[in-house]
Amino acid sequence: MIEGLLPQLDIVRKDFPILERTLAGGLPLVYLDSANTSQKPQVVIDTMVDHLERHNANISRAMHQLGAESTEAFESARDKVAAFIGAPRRDEVIFTKNASEALNLVANSLAWATGDLAVGPGDEVLITEMEHHSNIVPWQLLTERKGATLRWFGLTDEGHLDLSTIDELITERTKVVSFTWVSNMLGTINPVAEITRRAHEVGAIVVVDASQSAPQMPTDLAAMEPMERPDVIAFTGHKVVGPTGIGVLWGRGDLLAQLPPFLGGGEMIETVRMEGSTYAPIPHRFEAGTPPIVEAVGLGAAVDYLGELGLGAVRDHEHAITAYALDGLATVPGLRVLGPLDAAERGGAISFEVDGVHPHDIAQVLDARGVAVRAGHHCAKPAHARFGVQSSTRMSSYLYTTPAEIDALVEALEYTRSYFKLG
């Protein structure tokens, strides 16, 4: 038996109704695309349905009982998310549409910032070569628009950040350092504390894309040393067993209060006159318009669900499954894993290539066996280019993944090789 798996995995799987369905030809579903989006437990589905059936109303504006219930549900979701990430303060949690919007919110607000936060010629924004496009393009836009310079950490052959250049890259010119906690392509877990400390020593703002880390490892911001705690983190709801259409931006309260508004409109104001307006305090300052209410409520149920399983237990499970998968993949001839080969250094997304078969063709044959993976560049084209590949196949496990599913993947990869007549 493999150590570290979630206790009562069979019972946990029953929480996810979609895992019971079969695919064309009666094949069972082997879902290995959770880094793309996670599946949803019944409690999330039920919570959202219940909200729509019994409590639906707009929030913060309706004086009636339903309005009060809906507002209560929405704000209580904020409390749950704050607890999930160990936010020092609940009002530092901003709901967005997704992680991309959260990152764009920060980059755009910085474009409008004045004083210490202003970004301009001579200033530098530092990212890394392993970022998802959503943590590259907003910074390209910011630096292009403001005449600042974009720089980045390169990668080692093993798929780690090349920190040997850290002294040249983090300097007094650095205004923002933005990087991913866990790579969506290479799986690499980055040293958040170390990089954050170095960035803070030069007074830079640290933004961390937590889209892949929040689902699979504990996040406790309040427990981090202030020097080692990022100033902003962003993640999306649908990867933490919540619905799509809801994301989270957490930011240090005094930083958020200093940032100019991003979207203007209802809810984000204090008062509006034709001559000008004043703005609400955080979090509402950054939540213009009617928010995704039922999605936020669903996210609240999702992070509660994860909290009950325990993120430590989820991380142990991912570690065990990832190690098992790395062993299994190593038995497939011609298969090369991109990224760290030690499960302790990585998350549950494993990208690989197989000599002689294009990732699309691999994914197609796998799908015919009921195994769902992702093929392509995974919105990380620069990271692929770094390893000299145009695209890759990615399997990504989650808390409901079983060793038998990894066996099915390996068996389907063997079948793929025989289908394409590779010796």
Binding site: H358, P359, Q364, A375, H377, Q390
Partner: protein, 162 residues
Amino acid sequence: MTNAPGQDLDSLYQEIILDHYKNPLHAGLRDPFEAEVHHVNPTCGDEITMRVHLDGGVVSDVSYDALGCSISQASCSVMADLVIGKPVEEAMAIHESFLTLMQGKGQVEPDEDVLEDGIAFAGVAKFPARVKCALLSWMAWKDATTQSQGHSESQPQEAQHG
């Protein structure tokens, strides 16, 4: 409503397609040419650089450098072999016929007289995610040919890079 991927896998990966994938025809970039285009499939990253040489209203050469899956590579090989030597008008009609087949959701009966090896792609039309793979090179060819026609008065270009 849903495909039966298990059963359809062989209809997708016809022997003809796998043969063209392993031994693509007319591959490589050649001179002379009037237009060179670079097309990418943004969702998957497949890409192709293609040159077209027209001579007296005839597609004299199609040369290419392509990175992609078996479907996109084989489709490019089949396309180049079909249009080379054909008058532009006839080649455009073949293009139209292939496009109709690909957009037909598996309901269009292909005309072997027009599409020759191209009929092997009939199965691809049942896989919406793969239609764009099959069409990448055809769209690049149409673009390059249209541009070449614009240059038909002028002399062919020489390669700008080695």
